[in-house]
């Protein structure tokens, strides 16, 4: 008798506990959905062809956000042009060349720590090194290099993992027919690892598109009616634009602010979705042997 009563009260406490777990999950999930709906619904009111294709006027209160959109695309491009090749080469080094010694452990530790450095510290680094020491000024180039340093940890890690996942037999087969080590990497290993590498690159671009603190330090401009003509020009960018119109411009029309947030979120999340699609597609056809 007592055991049965005990069992039921234990059943009840299990129900209560599971209720708590579900509630915790709901507390995470529901606000995300609310935020997305709120941004899409309120921001959609601001979206028009003019908003996307014209330069701002009256300190962003009127006109469009084209320079900010383009600036963000240039930034993503500049970041990935630097961070991807270096990341892939470093990934090749760590997976194919490095022996298990103190140097390799130091490199891996450096990468783990680079991933955890606060973005504002990358901003200080970019300001000190690229803007001032290399005299690149407050430019698109300085900002791209800064964001590339920040993206490095991610491109190296994803490349390394993608290359390590290529089965050993592929390498041995290639070496057995007389290919050299580099030929094997170039023609056998890298093509197999490509989907993983690209996934990491796209995620790094998405991250770069949303980063605000570093470009705030390295010198994004708030209001520039002209588009940047060269890498040495100042630039506008979506996240910095959102920061200023939301926090610093009094009397900003609400729908415009939500519109900027919507465009930024759309750019960032669409790149996330692209990365997910590449990952899922490559998983399907991979190593069926």
């Amino acid at each position: 008798m007592t055991t049965r009563i005990g069992a039921t009260s234990r059943q009840i406490s299990q129900q209560v506990a599971f209720g708590f777990l579900i509630a915790a999950t709901a507390v995470v999930v529901i606000p995300v959905i609310i935020i997305i709906i709120q941004i899409v619904v309120t921001g959609a009111g601001a979206i028009s062809w003019d908003f996307l294709s014209q330069a701002p006027s009256q300190a962003g209160k009127a006109g469009g956000i084209l320079p900010a959109i383009l600036g963000t695309f240039y930034l993503m491009l500049g970041t990935i042009i630097v961070a991807l090749p270096v990341g892939v080469l470093a990934g090749v080094y760590l997976s194919e060349y490095a022996h298990d010694n103190w140097l390799t452990r130091t490199v891996n530790m450096a990468i783990v720590n680079l991933a955890g450095v606060p973005s504002i510290v990358y901003g200080l680094f970019g300001l000190g090194v690229f803007v001032l020491m290399f005299h690149l000024g407050m430019s698109l180039l300085s900002a791209s290099l800064t964001l590339a340093c920040q993206a490095l940890a991610m491109t190296v890690t994803t490349s390394r993992e993608a290359i390590l996942a290529v089965p050993r037999g592929y390498r041995e087969g290639s070496l057995a027919v007389g290919a050299t080590r580099w030929q094997t990497i170039r023609h056998v290993v890298l093509p197999q690892a490509m989907p993983g590498i690209i996934t990491g690159a796209v995620l790094a671009m998405s991250r770069a598109a949303g980063e605000t603190a570093p470009i705030l330090v390295v010198g994004a401009a708030f209001f520039l009616p002209a588009l940047p003509g060269s890498p040495f020009d100042q630039f506008m960018a979506l996240p910095y634009h959102l920061y200023t119109v939301a926090a610093h411009v009094p009397g900003m029309p609400r729908t415009t602010i939500w519109g900027v947030a919507l465009v930024l979120l759309a750019v960032v999340l669409s790149f996330n979705v692209i990365a997910t699609i590449i990952r899922l597609r490559s998983r399907k056809r991979r190593y069926s042997t």
């Binding site: 299990q14 599971f18 777990l21 915790a24 999950t25 507390v27 995470v28 995300v32 941004i39 270096v86 990341g87 080469l89 090749v92 760590l94 997976s95 060349y97 490095a98 022996h99 130091t106 450096a110 783990v112 720590n113 680079l114 991933a115 955890g116 450095v117 606060p118 973005s119 504002i120 510290v121 901003g123 200080l124 680094f125 300001l127 000190g128 090194v129 001032l132 490095l152 390498r171 070496l175 050299t180 080590r181 580099w182 998405s206 949303g210 605000t212 603190a213 330090v217 996240p239 910095y240 920061y243 939301a246 926090a247 602010i257 947030a261 930024l264 979120l265 960032v268 999340l269 996330n272």
Partner: protein
């Protein structure tokens, strides 16, 4: 690590003698040189950050002794003479991190336990992408949401003069560190071998008792690492606290006051700081402190994670 140990001697034999082959080898050596350089670049960047922060930041101690810098409560960079005490920023960072951790740890671990142990596959497949979506939100968007949606709620709920406070920032930070806490904790719980659960069921434990007394304790080091990573995130986050925490310069005695964490202090001050000036040096010194703090947190988290990984390997 190296896949080549056993086989790489073979390729030296395989190359025939002759000019073409030798030129090939030269090109290869070149590429391999680049590969080594790229491999070392991570160390170069990390060392570069350390050297720069030390070089630009430490000279402030020639003007303001470390004691006054760390424990001074007044930050007046433009008054004459200027004073640089970072206590207000440090305490603000402490408050927002404490609030964020107090919310994100219980919620995150509970969510991870649900996803790993309880949720049916279909629920898991829907919830996980939503959490990944959250991880992809730029911090400036979270700051914007805090500004627009959360701060009015906090203001009316706690009857405050302003909704821009450490509490509001802490809640937003909790959200931003949830994805990493959930995913790392969930991985840790999934790594617990099934035999542990079956043994617990065989002793008559319910599913919940198994989660509480077996799965969570077995995954505890992974969960600890998750919490550390979440804390590191919260300490280093800039835009959200810059937009939402309120930006007041007094030492905050309660999380409901407006405040300015260290990251926000750098972001809002660096635009006005003259290169090499005292304020510039002081801000780099704050950056150095931030760097050391997050470095420590991440190193510990990495260690703990490594140990967790080895725990159930046979």
């Amino acid at each position: 690590m190296s896949q080549w140990r056993r086989v790489h001697k073979a390729d030296a034999v395989a190359v025939p003698a002759g000019g073409l082959a030798r030129r090939w080898r030269l090109g290869e050596r070149l590429v391999e040189g680049w590969i080594y350089l790229a491999g070392l670049l991570a160390i170069v960047v990390l060392l570069g950050i350390i050297i720069l922060l030390i070089k630009e930041g430490l000279p402030i101690f020639l003007d303001t002794p470390p004691w006054e810098f760390f424990f001074g409560t007044k930050w007046y960079p433009v008054s004459e003479p200027p004073t640089f005490g970072i206590m207000p920023f440090f305490v603000a960072t402490l408050w927002v991190t404490v609030v964020a951790t107090a919310i994100s740890v219980p919620v995150g671990v509970a969510c991870a336990a649900y996803l790993s142990e309880v949720a049916p596959g279909s629920v898991r497949e829907t919830v996980k992408p939503i959490i990944e979506l959250l991880a992809g939100f730029p911090s400036v968007v979270m700051g914007f949401i805090g500004l627009m949606l959360l701060s009015p709620l906090v203001q009316s709920a706690f009857n405050l003069n302003t909704g821009l406070s450490g509490l509001t920032a802490g809640i937003m930070l909790a959200f931003m560190s949830l994805p990493i806490i959930i995913s790392v904790s969930e991985d840790a719980m999934r790594a617990v071998p099934d035999e542990f659960r079956q043994a617990s069921y065989a002793l008559g434990a319910t599913k919940w008792e198994t989660i509480w007394h077996v799965c969570i304790p077995a995954a505890l080091s992974g969960i600890t690492a998750a919490v550390m990573l979440g804390v590191g995130r919260a300490i280093g986050e800039t835009m959200t606290v810059l937009m939402v925490a309120g930006g007041a310069l007094a030492v905050p005695v309660s999380p409901t006051e407006p405040m300015m964490p260290m990251t926000a202090a750098i972001a809002s001050g660096i635009g006005n700081a003259v290169r090499g000036g005292l304020q510039y040096q002081a801000l780099f010194a704050i950056g150095l402190i931030l760097f050391v703090l997050t470095l420590f947190v991440n190193l510990v988290a990495d260690r703990v994670l490594e140990r967790q990984k080895r725990k159930f390997q046979r």
